[in-house]
């Protein structure tokens, strides 16, 4: 077998690649373009100035990582609502089952992916922090 031509071919390929546009994203300077269906940080949808969540417990039930804590409460109109809604981002695997399970379209996932924090307690997102930003 001729041992020279594969090396020449390889050299040609590397030289060709040298003049290609690098695929590197200079991350802090350039931002990635997040896909429309990217599963990032959760957000609780709002309707009529309050969270749509009815505290049906389907999301903590379906959650494979058991990271959602919901406690139901009763509001002035005797409607059921989530008095407490917490997601532990250290346990969450961002599978999106909670979004699929929700019968009232109360939770969705945003494109936000920079979830780093300094303290463990800061990773537990309460209802205030999860409410969708207007």
């Amino acid at each position: 077998m001729n041992p020279i031509s594969p090396i020449i071919n390889g050299l040609a390929i590397t030289l060709k690649h040298m003049f290609m546009k690098p695929v590197t994203l200079q991350y802090p300077d350039e931002r990635p373009k997040v896909a429309a269906r990217f599963r990032g940080l959760h957000a609780l949808n709002v309707s009529h100035n309050k969270a749509k969540c009815v505290a049906c417990y389907l999301c903590p039930t379906v959650c494979p990582a058991k990271c959602i804590t919901v406690e139901a409460g009763e509001d002035a109109n005797h409607d059921k609502y989530a008095a407490k809604y917490e997601i532990d981002m250290l346990r969450c695997i961002f599978c999106g089952y909670c979004v699929e399970a929700c019968p009232v379209d109360a939770i969705r996932m945003t494109g936000e992916f920079e979830l780093a924090n300094y303290h463990r307690k800061d990773f537990i997102y309460n209802k205030e922090r999860l409410l969708e930003k207007k």
């Binding site: 390889g10 050299l11 590397t14 040298m18 003049f19 290609m20 695929v23 590197t24």
Partner: protein
Amino acid sequence: MGIEILGLPMIYYIAMVAKVLVAFLFVLLTVAYATYAERKIIGHMQVRLGPMRTGWHGLLQPIADGVKLFFKEEIIPSQASTFAFLIAPLVALIPAFITFAVIPFGGTIELFGYKIPLQVAAYYDTAAGQVFDVNVGILYILAMSSLGVYGIVLAGWSSNSKYSLMGGLRASAQMISYELSAALAIIAVFMLAGTLSLNKIVELQSGFGGFEWYIFKQPLAALMFFICSLAEINRTPFDLPEAETELVSGFCTEYSSMKYAMFFMAEYANMITVCAITTTLFLGGWNGPFAVAVPILGPIYFVAKVYFLIFLCMWIRATVPRYRYDQLMHLGWKVFLPLALVNIVVTGIIGYFI
């Protein structure tokens, strides 16, 4: 200028020292920026960017690396043979730098009325009216490049670590087998030139407007010498002494801080020296169009050729994966050695009849 030493004024010695310093600084700076160039070139060949954040497009990266290595903790393993462990990086580094002394990097320039040959170990004898350099220059280079392996073997042995020892053993076996073929490959050049002085060899290649290079007369020898030199200085694809996948980091596993940096510098200085030797022996040295008429063009041609060969080394590194140990030995003993011997015989026969 009142002070005279051995019948020559002070300014002459200052010019000579300046020549040495310029050559040394050139090698040192090239070593520093070869690391940067390598990371940049290989990065772009892999469709990445390489260093980008230290200075404009990462231009200060070698300085940052140097400062970092300088301030790192010096670790000497408790079971190491301390003296050999300390001296090994120097044994590797010094031959790498002093080899450059006999390489002519330009013609003769005239400074303050004195002719100064652009070669560190050379002087212009006014009485004889010609340049004298080391007349066994290439033997000196071969001797020095063999000295370099002692540093690596010593480092491997004195570290008292299995990985280091394996790296050192591999280095010695590999360097000895490839040095034979490299030396035999350049014997064909001596047969054409009839001299061992590098200055004369460069002069002999100045025909055809500076294009009578030995690579055209001895293409096989040039190719073999370059590949064997790559193996001798442990460049990829022959970097078995420091094969990360098998030997962690080979002979420099136990080294840290500036001593590690010395091995790194030795590797790159060796690469520059090998490229400079290949340029001198096969690519016409500092020869090129108008190089004799315009002396300043000589060093420019020389540096351009050397940098092209350095680029070639990096290009090969980005392309070819590491050879297996038995393939390496097969290539050295069963391919290059017979080829080099055949080349010598053929050169001799052709030389006898022409």
